[in-house]
């Protein structure tokens, strides 16, 4: 089976961990986020006939106090940038983190996940902004950890682009 390292990046409390918790295999405690800043999980996906084992490095959120260690990004074949659609500033952080990831990894496949899509009426990122992102070449996926919306789709989309 082919293995690929992927990273999960984004601002603090955008729901990165919740997003994957129900959909991946995990053996490590949440404590690792606050101690060493990363937790490794695994997600099996099937793209056509090819089975892939995605080793998911869930990296602690970046905020004013914590900075993502670039050594955790090393060797990743792709990454997911998670944004909380009810907090506009998380998009700005994601775009900053993206620059850092591009510096470390080059132009590897990546997706922008607009999370907490189930929270109706609390939008801080409007459709126009999303349209602008798509126009700028971003691959945007609407997700919800609560309903499971778009999660599988996001993993399969990223996996397809990594082996394509």
């Amino acid at each position: 089976m082919i293995q690929k390292k992927i990273c999960m990046l984004g601002s603090f409390a955008v729901g990165k961990t919740s997003l994957v918790q129900r959909f991946v295999q995990n053996i490590f405690s949440e404590k690792y986020h606050t101690t060493i800043g990363v937790k490794v999980d695994k997600k099996l996906v099937k793209v056509g006939e090819q089975e892939l084992s995605l080793i998911l490095w869930d990296i602690a959120g970046e905020d004013g106090y914590h900075v993502i260690r670039s050594s955790y990004l090393r060797g990743a074949s792709g990454y997911l940038l998670v944004v909380d659609k009810t907090r506009r500033n998380t998009l700005d952080v994601a775009l900053e983190v993206n620059v850092k990831a591009q510096e470390a990894l080059g132009n590897v496949p990546h997706l922008l996940l607009l999370n907490k899509w189930d929270l109706d009426g609390k939008w801080d990122i409007d459709e126009a902004t999303i349209g602008e992102l798509i126009k700028n070449g971003w691959d945007v996926v609407k997700t919800s950890a609560k309903t499971g919306l778009g999660v599988e789709e996001a993993f399969i989309k990223l996996a397809t682009r990594m082996i394509g």
């Binding site: 293995q3 690929k4 490590f28 060493i36 490794v40 695994k42 080793i55 260690r69 060797g75 074949s77």
Partner: protein, 344 residues
């Protein structure tokens, strides 16, 4: 008439030859100029060198991919260059290799000192106890150093799992275990182990060349050996001897040598590493103690050097016991003879 005819014919021939020559010149002039240029290039070494230099790098890459002959051809020259360079100024080469030699020497020395300290501590600890006295007698009887006897009786360890991890991605290339107990997902464990190493390196390591070598968790010790493209992590239960380090190092060196190309080209498919599994299995060493004797065994089919050595010791011990038995029988016989003489 005939003379004038001959003359006019001769004139015609020379004229037609001249025309032919002109035509030839017109037709093949560019080619002739090119040939002249090529000959000129071939004759002037500077121009030839300039031409070759344009394709030299590409040619080397192509040839190196095809076979090893380029490396073999260059080998004597490279060796001579290194020899001459050292002869001329040893400092130059020493400076160049210092960044890699320094840490390697430091590591070797620190491991040798650790091994020595370990045997010294054990020896001191057991000198004045009843057990210690017994071992000292054993040392005198077998003619082996006391420290060796102490180590033989006290070391109990087992290498439970060995991971071969791709250094850059943290993905598991190969995994071997002595049993099925407590084995978590190897992909996640090797990822986390890599993350912990990165964390320690980023947070505490002063130099980039230094890396995490061991982790201790209760009864478990994780020893980490760093290669150029891969990392070997051994999960050990108990108290491992320092010699185990060299077993791990050798296994890693052999794998890196065998899988050099696969390590460079690794894109997530670890199937080609299966052929090196025996090196990993060879690291699953076990040493255990029971009341009467000490034995070392290995879960792999191949017997380690250490086991053979201990089997020899066992044979030696059996031989000694037999000798003592014969002496005792001899003494009893003598006593019986003496008693018989007295009674008669």
């Amino acid at each position: 008439m005939s003379d004038s005819n001959i003359k006019s014919t001769g004139d015609n021939i020379s004229e037609s030859e001249k025309e032919l020559e002109d035509l030839r010149r017109l037709l093949i002039r560019p080619e002739q100029e090119e040939i002249a240029q090529i000959l000129e290039r071939m004759d002037i070494p500077d121009i030839r060198a300039e031409e070759v230099s344009r394709v030299l790098a590409e040619a080397i890459v192509i040839r190196a991919k095809r076979d090893d002959r380029l490396a073999l051809a260059l080998l004597p020259t490279v060796e001579k260059v290194i020899r001459d360079s050292v002869k001329k100024d040893p400092k130059f080469l020493a400076d160049a290799i210092f960044p890699i030699m320094g840490p390697a020497i430091r590591k070797a020395i620190s491991e040798a000192i650790q091994a020595m300290m370990q045997s010294f501590n054990e020896a001191v600890q057991h000198t004045f106890t009843l057990q210690g006295m017994k071992w000292r007698i054993e040392s005198i009887r077998t003619g082996r150093p006391f420290a060796e006897i102490v180590l033989l009786h006290t070391l109990i360890y087992q290498v439970e799992q060995v991971f071969l991890i791709h250094k850059e991605t943290g993905l598991v290339l190969l995994h071997a275990a002595s049993g099925q107990e407590n084995i978590q997902d190897t992909g996640m464990v090797s990822g986390m182990l890599t993350a912990i190493q990165d964390f320690v390196n980023d947070s505490f390591s002063a130099e980039g060349t230094q890396a995490l070598q061991s982790l201790n968790v209760g009864e478990l010790t994780i020893w980490i050996e760093q290669g150029s493209k891969s990392v070997l992590a051994a999960v050990i239960r108990g108290n491992p001897p320092q010699e185990l380090r060299s077993v791990l190092q050798k296994a890693l060196e052999s794998i890196e040598f065998e899988q050099n190309e696969a390590l460079y080209a690794f894109q997530g498919d670890s199937s080609s590493f299966e052929s090196s599994r025996h090196h990993l299995v060879a690291c699953l060493v076990k040493a255990q103690r029971d009341k009467k004797e000490k034995k070392t065994e290995k879960t792999s089919q191949k017997q380690p050097v250490k086991t053979k050595k201990k089997e020899k010791d066992k044979e030696k011990k059996t031989g000694l016991d037999l000798k003592w038995l014969l002496v005792a029988v001899g003494v009893v016989c003598m006593l019986l003879i003496v008693a018989g003489i007295i009674l008669s």
